[in-house]
């Protein structure tokens, strides 16, 4: 028996388990690409319009940070500036979740033991997970290429774009293969992989923002940090402009190295174990644990601390770049005119911070949903049963998790404002004002975050088995509306569905109380519905 015996069967098992999930991912990402391309074709039919768009995007640090590279003015190149990063990052998440689901999650639940006792080699499980993830990315790449060709774009560029998206996804599949060996829990492995995606995004953001604009303003040459990021590599293929196929070589090398590492790690640990031996715990509980809130915090603190660290790093990175934006304006009178034009009275820096805090708001909503869905995983794992069979009211158990998620989200936003403000304040020598302004601006996002959190609570109460799917799908929709809503030319009614569409763009715009109060009301109502429904329903153990 070789170490890979049984891989084929496990691939079939994984495909059977993912028969709904993966097609939804592929369909959603392909549709996103299709919608973006066709609206770019509709909105920017002439070369002149596309040149104007390219120049303005390349000159805006906000545009560069969130859209990525500007590289050429052909229809295809313009579409890629808008869609490549969103689709590639989503492909990265699809890959990491898939790999962890078929490796560490199986070990955590004990299914791996059942499988490993069969005629199955040591590396079969990981290999099968990677085959499924790589296969899904290849299909995704092909579907994207087909959609692009369908919009009358050149075939070479379309395949280069598809390959780039697939390659980013595949690189993160390999990263998840490593995190699945390191962490003992699926949650931890997914968290580490998501952090890796965040770092990759940030590295290329720094590299792209500090890059040089050449070719009359329509091509951005990234600085070196972009070349440290798999997402950056995908972008450097520059489809429809340079079609740099050789960049795929970097992704192949990284994939091979990471997969090799993960195999070595698999061979050096026991099934079910992480890399570290389990330390003995306390023989008795500390008083702090002995309440529903204490237990809730014990369960939630790891996730919160991870997010807090990520938030502080992200805020500090955003804040320290804020300085370059100031210099950017100082250099060019044209730029100042340009920003006065689009930003009205607000300055470039304020617009930049409003955009970054908007992204932070979406990210923190992700934290809130993750924290609230802990209720569901506690329920389905059967761990709520002994708690509620003890003398704990359902509402008290639920409120303890809701309180932790809500306070955690507000605290993360505060940390985001604080670290952005501190970093920016230090470089412009104005810590006091900047810190308080940016903390205030970050907290403006809180009502929208809480509204999405309220939706997750309501979903848990009303549709426990679908709570995770519903909550994440709504967040994905909000991200899509925020990132692509304008370029897709979605009607206002659709844009208004996202609570984040109603948040004033602080610190650039004035803060008005009405939308914020309305969002808080929605949050409170949804939470009340969720709590009331949970009080009335059966525990759903499966």
């Amino acid at each position: 028996m070789s170490a890979f015996t049984g891989t084929g069967r496990l691939v079939r098992l994984a495909l059977r388990r993912d028969r709904i999930q993966l097609p939804i991912w592929l369909l959603a990402l392909t549709l996103t690409q299709a919608a973006t391309v066709s609206s770019v074709v509709g909105l920017y039919p002439t070369e002149q319009e596309r040149v104007a768009l390219a120049i303005s995007t390349a000159q805006s640090p906000v545009g560069v940070m969130f859209n990525g590279l500007v590289s050429g003015t052909s229809l295809g190149a313009t579409a890629m500036t808008q869609s490549f990063m969103v689709v590639a990052i989503a492909a990265a998440f699809m890959s990491t979740l898939t790999v962890v689901r078929h490796t560490r999650q199986n070990e955590e639940t004990g299914r791996a033991e059942l499988i490993g006792a069969g005629i199955v080699g040591r590396h079969a499980s990981l290999t099968a997970a990677l085959i499924v993830a790589v296969g899904a990315n290849v299909v995704l790449g092909l579907l994207n290429a087909v959609v692009l060709i369908g919009n009358d774009l050149p075939a070479t560029g379309s395949f280069a774009a598809g390959a780039g998206i697939a390659a980013v996804g595949i690189a993160f599949a390999a990263i998840a293969a490593v995190t699945a060996q390191v962490s003992e829990t699926a949650r931890g492995a997914n968290g580490m992989a998501a952090a890796a995606i965040g770092v990759a995004f940030l590295l290329r953001a720094v590299g792209d923002v500090s890059g040089k604009v050449v070719d009359g303003g329509v091509t951005l040459v990234s600085a070196w940090p972009s070349w440290l990021s798999p997402i950056g590599w995908g972008q450097q293929i520059r489809p429809y402009d340079q079609d740099n196929w050789w960049v795929l070589g970097l992704l192949v090398v990284a994939f091979a190295a990471l997969v090799g590492l993960s195999f070595v790690l698999t061979a050096h640990r026991d099934v079910g174990a992480g890399l570290r031996a389990v330390q003995p715990g306390r023989p008795t509980a500390t008083p702090g644990l002995l309440s529903p809130l204490g237990l809730g915090w014990h369960l939630q603190r790891g996730v919160f601390i991870g997010w807090a660290v990520g938030t502080v790093v992200l805020g500090a990175a955003y804040g320290s770049i804020g300085d370059e934006i100031e210099e950017f304006i100082g250099d060019s009178e044209q730029m100042a005119d340009y920003f006065e034009q689009i930003g009205g009275t607000a300055g470039l820096t304020e617009a930049y911070f409003a955009a970054t805090l908007g992204i932070a708001g979406l990210a923190v909503a992700g934290y809130a949903i993750q924290a609230l869905l802990r209720m569901r995983s506690e329920e389905s794992a059967g761990r709520v049963e002994p708690v509620l069979a003890a003398s704990v009211p359902r509402t008290r158990w639920m409120w303890s998790h809701v309180a932790i998620a809500a306070c955690g989200a507000v605290l993360l936003l505060t940390l985001m404002g604080l670290s952005t403000g501190l970093a920016y304040g230090l470089v412009v020598d104005d810590v006091g004002t900047q810190t308080s302004t940016l903390i205030g601006a970050a907290l403006v996002q809180a009502p929208a975050v809480l509204a999405l959190a309220g939706l997750a609570v309501a979903a848990f109460g009303l549709l426990p088995r679908l709570a995770a799917a519903v909550s994440w799908a709504v967040l994905a929709l909000c991200v899509l509306i925020g990132q692509l809503g304008q370029i897709l030319g979605l009607p206002q009614a659709v844009l208004d569905l996202s609570p984040f569409s109603h948040v004033p763009a602080a610190p650039a715009d004035d803060v008005t109380a009405l939308p914020l109060l309305a969002l808080l009301l929605v949050a409170a109502a949804l939470t009340a519905i969720g709590v009331a429904s949970f009080r009335r329903r059966d525990l759903a153990m499966t």
Partner: protein
């Protein structure tokens, strides 16, 4: 005699499946009540309804004179529960989990906790993720027995315990019984039920099929008799209540309905009995009698459906 648990006509459906179909159960205060049934009969569903974790569709359930759903929090102060499948928080130690479960139901006796840890030979510093099934079970059992409560609801509590620990567990049940507490014990280990229970209820497909003391239940079933006589035995086959009769001259082996045993013995004495052994039915036979028929019937049905 007061009643600790009283259930009548309980119905609970999950979609198309009718898990409980008019179930009755009565547990007197101070008794150890065995709750028997094959997998999927509805034992855990009944217990979850009694704990207010599931809401019944119809029927009446009273637990310690309260309503299991609406008075759940108050009632749970007075009972301890050991789930059939103990799921613990992977990164809590066993000791932490015991303290947590105990304190959530109103505190536990530290001396008793220490005593039980020793008797069950459980290391409280190990993280729950490293515990075997049996050790997770012990955590829940220790947390339950270290609590000062009136009612113990135990759902297959000893399913992962080794024979030594099984003996310790049985001692614990006897101790709480002596202290006048009530125990509802759902179990598959028939020897355990026979050793511990005052009364048993047997359920099948969500309905109670038998309920009573073991003696009463035995009365409903057959006793095996082996007999040797001085003269050849005749006429046994004609007696009512005699089954599976094998006669070989002066030897006979047969089962007899327990309520007919007197008449059969009178008949046998006329042949001058030399030796006689009478074996009362074990709980296992009781159980198999109920489910053996059912199994045979279901197999037949399945075969019929397959054709």
């Amino acid at each position: 005699m007061t009643t600790a648990i009283s259930v009548s006509g309980l119905v609970k459906s999950f979609g198309q499946t009718r898990a409980l179909d008019g179930l009755d159960l009565s547990v007197a205060t101070g008794e150890v009540h065995g709750f028997l049934g094959p997998n999927g009969a509805g034992k855990s569903t009944t217990i979850r309804v009694l704990l207010g974790l599931l809401r019944s569709d119809a029927g009446r359930a009273t637990l310690l004179d309260g309503d299991p759903w609406s008075d759940a929090v108050e009632l749970h102060r007075r009972l301890a529960y050991v789930p059939g499948d103990v799921n613990l928080w992977p990164n809590l130690s066993g000791g932490e989990a015991i303290d947590l479960l105990g304190s959530l139901r109103g505190g536990l006796d530290p001396k008793r906790r220490a005593d039980l840890l020793e008797r069950f030979d459980l290391d409280p510093t190990k993280k729950a993720r490293t515990y075997s099934k049996g050790n997770r079970q012990k955590v829940a059992v220790v947390a339950a027995f270290a609590s000062d409560v009136e009612l113990f609801v135990l759902d297959e509590p000893s399913s992962g315990l080794d024979p030594l620990m099984e003996a310790v567990f049985q001692d614990c049940v006897r101790e709480v019984k002596q202290a006048g507490r009530t125990v509802l014990l759902s179990s598959h280990v028939l020897a355990e039920v026979e050793a511990l229970c005052d009364r048993v209820s047997i359920i099948r497909l969500g309905k109670t099929v038998e309920s009573g003391t073991l003696t009463e239940l035995r009365h409903l079933t057959r006793t095996s008799i082996l007999v040797e006589t001085a003269r050849p035995i005749t006429g046994l086959a004609e007696l009512s209540g005699v089954h599976d009769l094998v006669v070989d001259g002066r030897h006979a082996a047969f089962d007899v309905d327990t309520h007919e045993i007197g008449r059969v013995l009178t008949h046998l004495t006329s042949f001058d009995v030399r030796a006689l052994t009478s074996t009362p039915p074990t709980l296992e036979e009781l159980f198999l009698r109920h489910y053996g028929d059912e199994l045979a019937l279901e197999t037949e049905r399945a075969e019929a459906a397959a054709r």
